[in-house]
């Protein structure tokens, strides 16, 4: 069944049917009603391929992420899909893993699928070596690129980022104000977002008259047990700390477990702050004080910006959203 069948039944030309299909206002109300009725009766649905051929758009957005089962990204995907659909767009999901080569491959694949834009979800797409990001910048010539929680300069590239610097600055300041002096910083990734988190923490300590010495900065796999083990071994080595600021709830959850295992009381002897306000932050005992990185707002802004781009509206190429400090039971403030 196609547009011709409908046009015959409704006694109009295929052009009129097509106009009704596309909400073109140059159709009389009577005709529109008749055509819609015929469509309904026949159970007609337009063929998306023919449509795509003519319009050269599928109303589909490619979403790339490293790993959709990651707590943060799973949430991002949920909100992105929801908000895109509200705007009439489908989402094609692409999990790329962490290899640069794989990312590039999937990037090309999505481009060849003629998606209308690509959203790179999560900060893992911006490589530390600028030349490795060239593929993104060159693709942006063809198709709008949205970075969710990442930043890259370039024409037709739009970023929405959480103000990670301010977030960790505030969190660390609070720790200092509550009397903590020996802060341990735990992180996993050195991405744009990751770097800002560290900087915020360092700045807060500096402004508080303290200093974040290198032995108080530790990288750790994003894994509860790995974090726990790392902390146990640091303690074994004699490192003393009275508070932990972690770049993810996973690491913070590991810190809580560490305290349990070492017989340290939280928050009396040790404060812990996580990041992302994920489900894990409600699973530990005591529950985690954590930074809410506002995924939902980030996603909304990303989709909003994208719709602005499609609509030819002048949109900012960079949007920053403030994080919230969620105070729960692993801190004494």
């Amino acid at each position: 069944m196609n547009i011709y069948d409908v046009s015959k039944k409704a006694n109009v030309s295929i052009a009129t049917v097509s106009r009704v299909l596309n909400g073109n206002p140059n159709v009389s109300d009577k005709t529109r009603a008749r055509v819609l009725e015929v469509m309904e009766n026949l159970g007609y649905t337009p063929n998306v391929f023919a449509r795509g051929l003519g319009l050269n758009t599928m109303r589909t957005i490619g979403i790339m992420c490293s790993d959709s089962s990651d707590l943060y990204l799973a949430n991002a995907i949920y909100y992105l899909e929801r908000d895109l659909r509200l705007n009439g767009y489908d989402s094609i999901l692409c999990c790329t893993g962490y290899e640069l080569e794989t990312k590039q491959k999937y990037f090309d694949l999505l481009c060849s699928k003629r998606v209308d834009a690509i959203i790179l979800a999560g900060s893992k797409f911006i490589e530390p070596r600028p030349k490795d990001n060239a593929y993104i910048q060159s693709a942006a010539a063809m198709i709008p690129i949205m970075l969710l929680n990442g930043y890259l300069e370039g024409e037709n590239i739009y970023s929405t980022i959480c103000d990670d610097f301010a977030a960790t600055y505030h969190a660390a300041s609070q720790l200092i104000r509550s009397g903590r002096r020996k802060l341990l910083y735990l992180y996993t990734s050195t991405s744009y977002s990751g770097a800002n988190k560290l900087k915020g923490c360092q700045a807060a300590l500096k402004d508080g008259g303290l200093c974040l010495e290198p032995e108080y900065i530790h990288q750790c796999r994003k894994d509860i047990t790995a974090a726990k083990e790392l902390l146990l071994s640091l303690r074994e080595q004699g490192l003393e700390f009275d508070s932990i600021l972690a770049s993810s709830d996973s690491l913070a959850a590991g810190a809580v477990k560490y305290a349990h295992a070492a017989g340290i009381s939280i928050p009396d002897e040790l404060s812990v702050i996580g990041y992302n306000n994920s489900i894990l932050s409600r699973c530990t005992d005591p529950e985690l004080t954590t930074i809410d990185s506002k995924v939902e707002a980030l996603c909304a802004s990303t989709v909003n910006t994208l719709m602005g781009v499609f609509g030819g509206v002048n949109v900012p190429s960079r949007t920053t959203i403030a994080a919230d400090l969620i105070k729960r039971a692993t801190t004494n403030f």
Copy 2:
């Protein structure tokens, strides 16, 4: 740039170019090489819409789930996307929420997008009232339907399910064998999968000479805090139990928190078993004994079956996969 540009450069007809594109063997090696070289030089990529029009397939699978941020489903989506892509298929994601009407709407939408099949991920798509599933069965006339962890009778409908009955039967048996006598069963959903979990538990108790009385079966929102509160109030009411079998790790994590709050020691005074072997099961302290419902295997089987259907192979309409009991620290066996 299109197939004509390539055909001119390569001095062949568009039919030959198309054949090369589709891997048709009726092209001489010399010609094929020449065409491929021209494609490479021109940076040609075929237009997916025109392709879809001709082939009437987009090599795209619709994945429907209630909520992609759910831990179980996020994993399922990850594995499905990965395995589909390995077979050259894209995934369009659709999060439907829990309303029957919304599910039907998105179902129609995906069908109209001419996806090659629809995967319904999670047991939430099979309604308790059979007539509400008619839309699935009628759509199956047009397009293969794959149920991941759900079961529905019907032509062109294929199910891959975890043997939930055997899983909870085994888990409950172990609890009994370890000396537990008063088992509390906690669940959230009454889906196909949910019903089987309960049945398995009941059967194990019965075979152990016990009985799961109604006051020992409680429904609870899939939320750590809700589960904790429920258990606290049950205890308040004087209900006595020495073990908890939960239909999800969330509920089990709530049980661990409950024990903490009530000063009950795990596993000495209370055993807890979760379900799904999710990240939560490693976050609680002690870590959860849990049932691994083998999402990865389920997804692999689903994709396998689907490829079989596409290939015209005779595939079973129902595949069952055995779960594993992961013994950790919330049980004393």
